[in-house]
């Protein structure tokens, strides 16, 4: 809006400036002509009132001339033989006291006592041009200041006018989920913005309501599922503990228990995700990032070493994170590093680093494992989608959980990967998390 008004105004001004000399010239000529005519009327009136004697003291003198000192104006009356009436304006050169000067001259013939006279009133084009220049300059200055002032006031006014809109945009931006949308009405008297704000709030309420219902259903179903799972589990465990000589039966029971545990993990993950999304976890811990990452490394090290994978760490740029849930962040980083270990071949290397970039705390985790294709990357964090074909065990929900935790803490995860080369994860702890 502001840009449009600026451009339109500039365009208008440029056109105006282009045509300005022409217009001013035209106006000036008209004005000069009118001035000349006015002067003619004045002279004629004087002659009518007081006679020609005023100018011509005797009959013997046939010419009257008057110049001002700078020779930019003159009046000349002389007897003439011209019979027809002259009344026109022309531009000619005159020589006055040896100087050639261009004049715009009004020629007017009139009769007094049967004698024809010619009245010439002139104005030097130079002086006309001079006034033209001044006019031009004045108009230009006026124009520019007009534009600057109106632009500035426009800008201020539209800013003021659109301030509520900016508030609304800010509110929308800062709300990472409908529940977190600021329900406080914005302070504005503009009816349209009040309505927009109200509509948005109503919409957010509606969305969070259906979200909440969905979550409630998830939570309830999960609870209902856990009880039958418990029963089956206890039964199977009791079976496993009976003195059963048949090894095959025992193996089958163990397999059933493993399958059941996968089911449990799925249900718990659903519960977990529903809970993070309705903000049911406290965020009150603060600790040095190196503490957490070292703990994770130590935990994973035995498995990594067993697979001949090196874990390199660089926490020289350490930082303290505040207002987070430590065990959730533990799970998040653990799942990522564990995922890297799983996807890296023996002899590979995993690198973990903490650093600060532009005042933003970051953690970098890379591996030189098998990497991912574009399609795999797209579904990387979607729930239950990222099971790789050769990953027979597990639920493949670890990364979805990591993503939920990251969202819950306002941590941005960026991933780059190349099949056969490896994968890189970047975690950015955005402010107001």
């Amino acid at each position: 809006m502001t840009i449009f008004s600026l451009v339109s105004r500039l365009g208008f001004t440029i056109i105006f400036i282009i045509f300005l000399p022409l217009i001013i010239e035209r106006i000036n000529i008209i004005q000069t002509d009118m001035e000349l005519i006015r002067k003619r009327e004045k002279v004629i009136k004087l002659i009518e009132e007081k006679g020609l004697e005023q100018f011509m003291f005797s009959d013997s003198v046939s010419t009257f001339g008057s110049y001002n000192i700078l020779k930019n104006e003159f009046i000349n009356i002389e007897k003439t033989d011209i019979k027809n009436t002259w009344n026109f304006i022309e531009v000619t050169n005159r020589i006055i006291e040896g100087e050639t000067i261009e004049f715009r001259i009004l020629n007017y013939s009139f009769r007094v006592h049967d004698t024809n006279y010619l009245l010439e009133i002139g104005k030097s084009t130079e002086s006309i041009k001079a006034t033209e220049e001044t006019t031009k300059r004045v108009i230009l200055v006026f124009l520019i200041s007009f534009i600057v002032i109106t632009l500035a006031s426009d800008l201020l006014y539209t800013r003021h006018l659109l301030y509520p809109l900016r508030l609304i945009i800010k509110k929308l931006k800062s709300a990472s989920s409908p529940e977190l949308f600021d329900r406080e009405p914005i302070g504005t008297t503009t009816a349209d913005f009040v309505r927009l704000d109200q509509t948005l709030r109503a919409l957010m309420d509606k969305i969070s309501d259906s979200f909440r219902r969905e979550k409630d259903i998830t939570v309830n179903i999960s609870h209902e599922l856990l009880t039958p799972i418990s029963i089956i589990r206890s039964k199977l465990e009791n079976l496993l503990l009976t003195e059963n000589p048949d090894e095959n039966v025992q193996v089958k029971i163990e397999e059933s228990l493993t399958t059941l545990s996968r089911l449990t993990t799925l249900v718990n993950s659903l519960l977990f995700i529903a809970r993070t999304e309705s903000s049911q976890y406290l965020k009150e811990d603060s600790f040095a990032i190196s503490d957490l990452l070292n703990e994770i490394c130590d935990e994973i090290l035995p498995v990594a070493e067993n697979k001949k994978i090196q874990i390199k760490r660089d926490f020289s740029a350490d930082f303290i994170i505040e207002g987070v849930n430590r065990s959730l962040l533990f799970s998040m980083f653990f799942n990522i590093v564990n995922n890297s270990v799983k996807n890296t071949s023996p002899g590979g290397e995993i690198f973990i680093k903490s650093y600060t970039d532009n005042n933003i705390y970051k953690v970098f985790i890379s591996d030189n494992g098998r990497g991912m294709t574009k399609e795999q990357m797209e579904t990387l964090f979607s729930r239950f989608h990222n099971r790789q074909k050769d990953n027979k065990e597990g639920t493949g929900i670890g990364l979805a959980i990591a993503k939920s935790i990251a969202d819950y803490h306002n941590i941005k995860i960026d991933v780059t990967s190349e099949p056969g080369k490896g994968t890189e994860f970047y975690f950015s702890f955005l402010k107001n998390s």
Binding site: T227, S234, Q250, T258, V303, S331, N338, E393
Partner: protein, 225 residues
């Protein structure tokens, strides 16, 4: 020891009872909160296993009742909700431990033992594993006079197997005991296998570890012979 199992799911209650009976517990079952409340008022139990999600009674109220009546029983609360607040609230109200459904029966057993150790026993408990000795209170492994260096997790694993001597523990049961019902993919990897391998390597320097058996297709077991 006698234990009251407060659980509204009959099938689950019976499975728990059947397991604990084999561990020489005297078990009683209360299928409703009201029944449980009456039993607690009349009898003295060493342990109460309390499901918080009862249809007719608030589990927390039952917990308060028991504690206000001066009941000294070890109380382990069980819930399917698994929410952190429940855990905190339960422990504040005097519960001794907390289990989330679904739990392993041997995990329940080991929690009961741990509470019993805390509540009733102060002396160092020593368990013999072949030529090695497990000092339960100070969490150490000795070979003769010498201490064997193991990590915390390795000790935990060994002790859990030792407490459930002669039972086969699945990898999942072991992992769940050591890392809890955590939300990650540990079970995907061979975490337990790696830890057992490391235990065998570290202890193998001193003496034989044949008592730590791999049960093919199932898991691990510590046997007495």
């Amino acid at each position: 020891m006698n234990i009251l199992i407060v659980e509204d799911e009959r099938a689950l209650a019976e499975e728990i009872a059947s397991f604990l009976k084999k561990e020489n517990f005297l078990c009683e079952i209360a299928l409703t909160g009201t029944a449980a409340s009456e039993k607690i008022a009349i009898n003295l139990y060493d342990f109460i296993l309390l499901d918080l999600g009862l249809p007719d009674y608030n589990g927390f109220d039952l917990l308060k009742e028991a504690r206000e009546a001066g009941n000294e029983a070890g109380i382990i609360i069980v819930t399917a909700r698994g929410a952190v607040e429940d855990k905190v609230k339960g422990l504040d109200l005097g519960a001794d431990d907390y289990l989330a459904k679904p739990f392993a029966l041997i995990e329940l057993y080991s929690r009961i033992q741990a509470v019993a150790r805390r509540k009733f026993q102060v002396n160092e408990q020593v368990m013999n594993l072949g030529e090695f000795q497990l000092l339960i209170q100070s969490r150490k492994i000795l070979f003769g006079e010498e201490e064997v260096e193991v990590t915390k997790k390795e000790y935990e694993l060994l002790q859990y197997l030792a407490f459930n001597r002669d039972k086969v523990l699945t990898r999942h049961q072991l992992y769940e005991h050591i890392w809890g019902n955590v939300l990650d993919d540990r079970y995907d990897s061979n975490f337990i296998d790696v830890h057992v391998k490391n235990i065998r390597r570290k202890l193998g320097v001193y003496g034989s570890t044949t008592w730590l058996e791999t049960v093919r297709g199932i898991g691990y077991r510590i046997s007495t012979d």
